[in-house]
């Protein structure tokens, strides 16, 4: 998605706000984090679905609202899509209808923490998919501009780089976010010359690496 979230290389954001050194600066942020993580298993939604919902926040709202408020905004979208809430409930905070909990359980504290300690490995066996590319090959990032979630930054679209690593086979973000399944793909670490991307303002020899799924690449 060609949205405001895709910020790599943009000008106009000023100096890095190094003094914002905290993970949380208010209890409502802590709550927001905890609520979103608790809901993921129950709605259910995964990270790519949540990222897609974040990316669909309007550009103006994306820049204006706090990071953790956006997390909640995205989660509200996913709750609405799952039919678990309606708009007026979200506004008022007051329940208007019950939801079917037959196939849902709200995780208890031990369960939820255990789930996060276990993590969500997203890798598939390396041999499960043939690899189209090899380390050392020159590849071009395909020019594609889907309106759904994708993990190609705008600043790399159409650019040529060299594969330095086959990172293994992983689920494919584009299909996971749109409910089309895991569709496992090889993920390649690709090296780009800073000078190629940004021109003479870059130091020759400086490099940018990105991890790109096989469907994003073509032989150069």
């Amino acid at each position: 998605m060609d949205g405001i979230h895709d910020m790599g290389g943009m000008h106009g954001f000023g100096p890095v706000d190094r003094q914002n050194d905290y993970a949380f600066r208010a209890d409502w942020q802590r709550k927001a984090f905890g609520i979103v993580e608790a809901l993921a298993g129950v709605v259910p939604f995964n990270a790519d679905m949540h990222r897609q919902a974040l990316e669909r926040i309007s550009a103006e709202e994306y820049l204006r609202h706090d990071y953790f408020e956006k997390w909640v905004m995205a989660t509200e979208t996913l709750l609405l899509q799952a039919g678990l809430v309606n708009e007026s409930e979200l506004k008022s905070g007051k329940k208007e209808f019950d939801v079917d909990m037959t196939n849902r359980t709200a995780a208890g504290p031990k369960e939820l923490v255990a789930a996060f300690i276990a993590g969500v490995p997203l890798e598939f066996p390396a041999e499960s998919q043939p690899a189209r590319f090899q380390v050392g090959q020159s590849v071009r990032v395909t020019v594609n501009n889907p309106s759904h979630h994708t993990r190609v930054p705008r600043y790399l679209r159409g650019r040529i780089g060299t594969i330095t690593h086959d990172a293994g086979v992983f689920q494919f973000a584009d299909t996971v976010a749109t409910g089309k399944g895991q569709c496992p793909q090889h993920c390649y670490t690709v090296m780009f010359s800073a000078r190629d991307l940004w021109g003479e303002s870059s130091e020759p020899g400086d490099i940018i690496f990105a991890d790109l799924a096989e469907p994003y690449l073509a032989l150069a």
Binding site: F24, I117, G205
Partner: protein, 206 residues
């Protein structure tokens, strides 16, 4: 006649307060609603926050770095299979299932970002600082890493190669910063205390 001039900073302050109030209200509303519907257990919400604040954080990464500096076999393992080597020290979990470890040297300086959102190796560094997730860092570090790192206090010499790693997929990155000079006699604990979070993101040198 009342003075109805407001200077810029007052406007920004009012806007900021409104955003904050709106955010706090939004969170209160969703919390109440989710509890009423039985979709969340409030104890679980508190537990996950507590877990991330207490059990994760840069001290995890610092322990890994100090071991890498003092144990060559561990350093090799870390560079070849970051996830396994990190797991062996008891650190694991969400957003750390696939970790690649990068080493800063006299010749190469690595720095990590997620331009598209805020991907970060939670089990070894905890939750990211706000600046890492905010637009300025995400926008600038891929385009002008040396200028950004200089703002953090380190002027990367021209002959050192800067490598920016954009966490665009499931891999999460941890940087082993260069070991400070004159620390040959330091204990592993003393070394770990020298390792900063910014050093492990790559925005700083120790």
């Amino acid at each position: 006649m009342s003075d109805h001039h407001h200077d810029e900073s007052t406007h920004h302050h009012h806007d900021h307060d409104e955003i904050e109030k709106g955010a706090a209200l939004r969170v209160r509303a969703i919390e109440e609603l989710m509890i009423a519907k039985g979709l969340i257990n409030p104890e679980a919400v508190d537990a996950i926050v507590e877990y991330y604040e207490r059990e994760t954080g840069p001290r995890n990464g610092a322990a890994i770095v100090a071991k890498a500096w003092t144990d060559p076999a561990y350093r090799e393992w870390l560079l070849n299979d970051g996830t396994a080597a990190i797991n062996s020290l008891g650190f694991s979990g969400f957003q750390g299932e696939h970790i690649i470890v990068l080493e800063n040297t006299e010749k190469v300086h690595n720095v990590v970002v997620c331009t598209l959102c805020s991907c970060y190796p939670w089990p070894v560094l905890g939750l990211p600082p706000a600046w890492y997730k905010n637009p300025a860092y995400r926008a600038r570090i891929v385009r002008e890493p040396r200028a950004v790192i200089a703002e953090f206090g380190y002027d990367v010499p021209a002959e050192v190669e800067v490598r920016v790693w954009d966490s665009t997929a499931e891999i999460r990155y941890l940087v082993i910063p260069q070991r400070p000079d004159g620390t040959e006699k330091a204990t592993v604990e003393e070394l770990a205390a020298m390792v900063t979070r910014d050093g492990m993101i790559g925005t700083a040198r120790l």
